[in-house]
Symmetry: C2
Subunit: 322 residues, 2 copies
């Protein structure tokens, strides 16, 4: 096994196996996790992170693939992080999609990674930011994070992007319904995919109405654009890239980009800190201290709050001494 | 507003308004929460806590009401904690059920409390044990905790009982399906309600098979009984009480009851400690410390893990100093 500095150097050179190895190290909470993260820190910040979310069936993978092509035409290095269990990257989709994505499989300027591992520690919401850091440090200009637009953790992941793209498709009432459930609040750019189908205009109109895009906004406010695409034929994706670059420029101009990144980093630190404290408490299982406190509660000698105070104080002492 | 010692004294005398006030204080995380919990501690441990869980439609509320009657006939003081959003106690069910439960509304030996308040702090799983403590301290001999048998938090609440009763009804394939999803692991006593309906025997047989009750067990092992009831006509509930008392006696004999209570208290302390630590981290929002760390991460001067270490150390110092 290569040492961490070598892996980082190889990842910088664009070697996919080194990138893969580093992501495995950070998502698996390996002993080297901290070493990797420390080594990556000075190398990060160059990538533009785009989140793509939408209900199953709207054509997320096809759109992601199309965006990869569009960015590649512009000479950018692209990372794809698929945190969608139904994504072809995660192995769960139609052969057609998989074949389509494999267009990029042999392109050294594209790094594709799926994340289907749920359930460890904080789950995906915990592992995704670390994988993003690896792709960032490995020199990706753009990182596309593909998530299913359902569930709290997916929305959290989308919130880790610099720009969030929400995808819809015509004739999917549930798409709009799902959108109502919170997705509408997170989109910086909206895409109505499968725009060659009946109802595409109606979907765009409904979306326009729901977003209140007809209403007047402040002169410097961001007005989320609605872009129509037929991702399966590669149509409209350059327009999506254009909308993304406009949003990025708007954020940079207004200082919004660094605000978002600071807020994101703060959440990340918070998650890691909570996990660390939780683990310290978890370590007490089987520890006599917690059992002794519990026994005193059952005996009526102590209430659970006083016991928790003792526990927290013990943990705090352990941290300050250690 | 009465002071805490007076409220506790009044609750001990069985005054329902004092009990209600105390539960409100503990579930609302009021400033007096700690004072109340400390005052209750020496008064707890007398109640036998029975969890009742099952899919909607199996007749949980009717069964709970029937069990209240059965325990009242035995001269016991009974507390009911309904953490079921669809429960008549929570106001969400049919008038017929509500009328049926109101049989107990004027009985001073019965205390009924609904908990439909979700979302604050740790939610129901956090508030339920505290409400159980109030009912325990108030002198209830038996506390029936009614939950819907779906979702993680309901299963957690059921795990806070001394004995868990899982209810099923014939002709509800979904009941068995839900059971498969985890309920089967938590039942100490199984009840097939609506046993006058077609398929009751088949449901009991299927359950018997799924539980592996035909298989041989160790001589001292608990063999969960399956009791058939028609709760709407009050049939079979004395048999359920009998099964509960058998399970209680078995647990006391084997030391299982105190083991379960110690494990439960340990979990409770852990939950409170995690919540307290989480709050300390949450307090840092808007605090310059967290923002400053986040800015250093975005600048590439620090990685999120090193930042989390600093944050945790700061919190620990605050605790040991405070």
């Amino acid at each position: 096994m290569a040492d961490v500095p070598t892996l980082v150097e190889q990842a910088r050179e664009g070697r996919p196996r080194a990138v893969a190895r580093l992501i495995s190290l950070v998502e698996g909470a390996s002993p080297q996790l901290r070493e990797v993260m420390a080594a990556l820190a000075p190398l990060t910040g160059g990538a533009y992170v785009v989140g793509l979310t939408g209900s199953p069936g709207v054509g997320k993978s096809t759109s992601t693939s199309g965006l990869v092509s569009a960015y590649r035409r512009a000479g950018k290095r692209v990372g794809v992080l698929a945190v969608d269990p139904s994504s072809p990257f995660s192995g769960g989709a139609l052969l057609g999609d998989r074949v389509r994505m494999s267009d990029h499989a042999s392109d050294p300027g594209v790094y594709i990674r799926s994340m289907a591992t749920r359930g460890h520690l904080g789950g995906l919401a915990w592992a995704a930011p670390q994988a993003i850091r690896v792709l960032d440090a490995a020199g990706c200009d753009v990182i596309l994070v593909e998530t299913v637009g359902v569930g709290q953790s997916e929305v959290e992941i989308a919130s880790q992007a610099d720009t969030s793209v929400v995808l819809l498709a015509p004739g999917m009432g549930d798409g709009i319904q799902a959108a109502k459930a919170g997705i509408l609040e997170i989109g910086d750019v909206y895409v109505v995919n499968k725009a060659d189908r009946d109802g595409a205009d109606a979907t765009a109109r409904e979306l326009n109405h729901m977003l209140g895009l007809g209403e007047s906004r402040g002169p410097g406010d961001w007005r989320p654009p609605i872009v129509k695409t037929v991702a399966a034929r590669g149509e409209g994706l350059d327009e999506v890239v254009e909308a993304l670059e406009k949003h990025r420029a708007w954020m940079e101009e207004r200082g919004v980009l660094s605000e978002r990144r600071v807020a994101r980093a703060a959440r990340e630190v918070e998650t890691i800190a909570v996990t660390a404290l939780r683990e310290r408490i978890g370590d007490l299982h089987g520890d006599r201290r917690l059992d002794a406190l519990a026994e005193r509660i059952v005996a009526g000698d102590l209430d659970p709050y006083a016991a928790a105070d003792e526990l927290v104080a013990g943990i705090a002492e352990g941290i300050t001494e250690g």
